[in-house]
Symmetry: C2
Subunit: 477 residues, 2 copies
Amino acid sequence: MGDGAASDEFDVIVIGGGPAGENAAQYAIAGSDRTAALVERELVGGECSYWACMPSKALLTPVHFLDRARHLRGITGTGIDLDAVLARRDDFTAHHADTGQVAWAQSVGVAVIRGAGALAGDRRVRVGDRELIARQAVVLATGSTALIPDVPGLRAALPWISRDVTNLRELPRRVLILGGGVVACEAATWLSAFGAAVTMVVRGDRLLGGMEPFAGERVASALAERGVEIRFGAGLDAVTRTSPAATGAGRIHGGPVTATVGGTVLEADELVVATGRAPATAGLGLATVGLDDRAVAVDDHLTAIGVAGSWLYAVGDVTGRNLLTHMGKYQARVCGDVIAARARGGPLDGPRYRATADHGAVPAVVFSAPEVATVGRTEQAARTAGFTVVAVELDISVAGSALLRDDYAGHAKLVVDRSTGRLLGATFVGPDVGELLQAATVAVVGEIPVEQLWHAVPAYPTVSEVWLRLLEKLRDR
Amino acid sequence: MGDGAASDEFDVIVIGGGPAGENAAQYAIAGSDRTAALVERELVGGECSYWACMPSKALLTPVHFLDRARHLRGITGTGIDLDAVLARRDDFTAHHADTGQVAWAQSVGVAVIRGAGALAGDRRVRVGDRELIARQAVVLATGSTALIPDVPGLRAALPWISRDVTNLRELPRRVLILGGGVVACEAATWLSAFGAAVTMVVRGDRLLGGMEPFAGERVASALAERGVEIRFGAGLDAVTRTSPAATGAGRIHGGPVTATVGGTVLEADELVVATGRAPATAGLGLATVGLDDRAVAVDDHLTAIGVAGSWLYAVGDVTGRNLLTHMGKYQARVCGDVIAARARGGPLDGPRYRATADHGAVPAVVFSAPEVATVGRTEQAARTAGFTVVAVELDISVAGSALLRDDYAGHAKLVVDRSTGRLLGATFVGPDVGELLQAATVAVVGEIPVEQLWHAVPAYPTVSEVWLRLLEKLRDR
C-alpha cells in the first residue's frame, strides 16, 4: 500500500492533510507511542502549499521588490524576468509533488493514507473500500473550496479560481476578476504588475470588507494607479465564452469571455472567480454522526459540538472559525494538545488547551501593494461588541519609513478599550507592514495597557517607530 | 537676536538640541503656557540627524536592497548609483541645514538659542556672554563625542571619525577601521559594498561585544564574504601619514596612512576610528553645581543625583545610561513628563514618570548586513544578573524567510526566566530583522509569560513565524 499504514486502527485519524491536519496529527501524538494517520485525497501539504499562500506569495515577493526598486533613489535598472519568477514560484510549490511533506509526516510518526476520507459513524473513517478505526479521536481538517456563484453561463465558461491564478502559466492579456476580498486584491496586484489589463467587479462599495475602511481604500487607489479598473456595486449578470477548454491550471481556459456587468458588456481573455470559500464538507459523511453539511461547529477545545463522547474534532477552514492558514495551524496545535491531554486522562485547565486567539486576536496580512496587516477588532467591530473605544490613526511617517522608500505612504490605526486601556485591534497599511503586525498581536494577546506599551521603545530608525506616534496621539486623547 | 528668545528667563532650559534635548523641551512644556529654551552650539537636530543615524542608514538602505536583489531569483539588473545614493543621504541630513528643526522647535513653543551652553551654578546657564535663568529646570542633553585612543601619531594623522564616514564624499580605495562595535560594523558594510578594500582592527576576539556571540560571528562571516579583512585581538601601535590635511568631513584627510598593528605594517588611504564614545561633558560647567566631568548620573526620573532641589536633569548619551538615540528620546519623554508634573505640583506615582525601560528592556538594531536586532538581556547577562534562565535558539527558516530571499540565513534566540516564564531577552540576526524586534520588546516590557505568547499567532507566511518555532522549542524544554 506504500502508505506506511499496515493497520486499519489508529489512536488518531485526521481527514485532510493540509497544514492544519498535519499539525493536529503531529501534536496529538508528539512524545508518545500512540499512532496517527493522515488521510489526504490530493497532496499532503494542502491548498496553502500548492495552490494558495505559497504560490501567491512567491508571485508577490518580486512585485513588491520591484515596486520598492522604482522608489528608492540610487537603485538602478531593476527589472523582472517573469519566466524566472514563475519558475521560483514552482519551486515554492515543489512542482506539486508532496514527497517532502510525506517524508516529514512519516518522520514525526504519522502514517499517510491516500484517498478521500469520510466519517462512517462513531470513530469510523471510510477511505475508498477501507474502513479505519480511531481508538481515540477523528480530526476533520478538510479545509474549504472556492465558491462559484450561480450566474448564467459562469460554470460553463470554466473560469479561473484561485488555484489557477496562483499557478499562472499563461498571462491573459485582459482579465476580469470577480470579487473584492483578499484573493481578488492579491491577484489583481500581481496580474497588473506582470502586464495584464485587469478589471475588478466588486459587489460591495469597497475592497477588503470587514477590515478598517482605509485599508480597502488605499489598496483600491494603488490598484487604480497600476491601471486596474474597479467597478464597485457591480454584479455579474451573465457570462458567455468562445470554446471553453479545460487546458489545465493556470492556462487560459478557452477563447474570449463576454461578461454582462450591470448592463455593460465587458470582454476579457480570462475570468477569475474570487468570491469567497465554503467549508469542504461535501462527501465527508457528517450525517453518519448526526451533523449536517455546514461548517463543523467546535468549542474552544476544537471538539465538535453536538457529537457525544468528545472523539470528533475539527480544525482549520472546515470549522468556519477563521479561514486563515495560521489560525488553522493554531487550532490544530491546540487540538493536538487537547487530544494528547485527554489520552493521558489529564485535565484541560491550562491556557494551552483553549483556542482563545480565535476570538479577538486574529492576525491577517494581505500581501497586496501596499500590504494590509490587521489584528483583533476594527473600531466598528469593537463598538458592535459593546466596547467603549478610543481610536487613533495617522499616516505612517517616521524616519524608518522615509528611509525604506522615497515615497513611502502608509496609515496605521489602534483601537483601545477605554475602560481597561488595553489594545483591542490594530491595522497597518503600507509597504512591508506585514512584519509590524506581531508586536500588535503580542500586545492584544498580552492585554498590556497602553500606559505600559509606552515603555516598549521602538528602535530608531525603524518603521516600528509608528508605535511611538500612535501612543503619543493616544496620550493626547 | 533671531532666536525668538527675547527673555533671559525660562521655565526650562535644555542644553543640547539633539533628539533627546528636543523631546525633553517639548514634553516639559506641552499643553502649558510655560516657556522653554533649547541651547545648541552646532545644529538643532544633533549628531543623529546629521552625522550618525540618518546618514548611516541612508547609506545602508540601498546596500541592503542591492544585497536582496542579488539573491531574489526573477529580479534582474539591479545596480547602485553611488552619486545618487550620496545625494539621497544628503537629503536625509537636510544638507546640514537645521532650518526645519528650528521651525519645528518654534512651532511647539521652544525658543532656540545658538551657542555652547554651560551650567553657571544653581539654575543658571551661560551661553557666551549671556546668562540665562531657569525658573524650574535645566536639562543636560549634550550627547557624546567620539573617543580617539592615545596612539602615537593617531591624532596628527587626522583620522576619520564616525562623522566623516557617514558623510562620505570621497571613497578611499583602502580603508582601515579601528574598532569592532556598531559604528565599525556598519561602516565596514557600506564601504565594502561601495568598493573599498576594508581592514578592521579589533581589540577583542569578536565583533559587537556585549551582544549574543552569534551576532558578531554572523556579521564577521558576512563581512569576510564581502572581502573585509578582520584582525581580531589586534591593537594599533603607531600611525604615520603623508601630508595630513583638514579637507572637510567625508573627504580624504591627506596622503596614505601607515599603521603598525601588532608588528605588521598596514597601508591605507584612510583610517576610521570607531572605538566608542564618551559623554560630552567638557566645558559644561558641571563643577559649578558640584559634579565632576564624568557622565551625569541620574535616577529613573532623569533627575541628576547629587544636586539638591530636583532642578537639574540629564537625558541621552550624556547620562551614560544607554547610548542610543531612541533611548535618549525615551528618557527625554519621561523627563519632560516629570518636569511638567513637578511644575503642576503633582505626584510622580505613575509608570509614565520612570524610565524603567533603561533597565532590561533596551532595544537596539545594528544595520549591518545581516542586521542584528536585540532587546533585553543576553543569556550571559541574565545569568550574571542572577536569573535562572531557559534559552532557545535556532536558524530562522520559515516560509516567510524563504520567500524574502533565496539564500535567507538568520538566527534567533530567546532568553526566558525559568521561574516566571517571562521573556528576558531576544536576539535576531538576518536580513531585515529590524522590524521583528518590536514584538519582542512588547513581550519583555509587558512581562507576558511565554505560555500566553503561544496565543500570539504569527501571520503566515511572514518572517515573524520564527516566533512559533522558538516557542515550540521552548515547550520541548
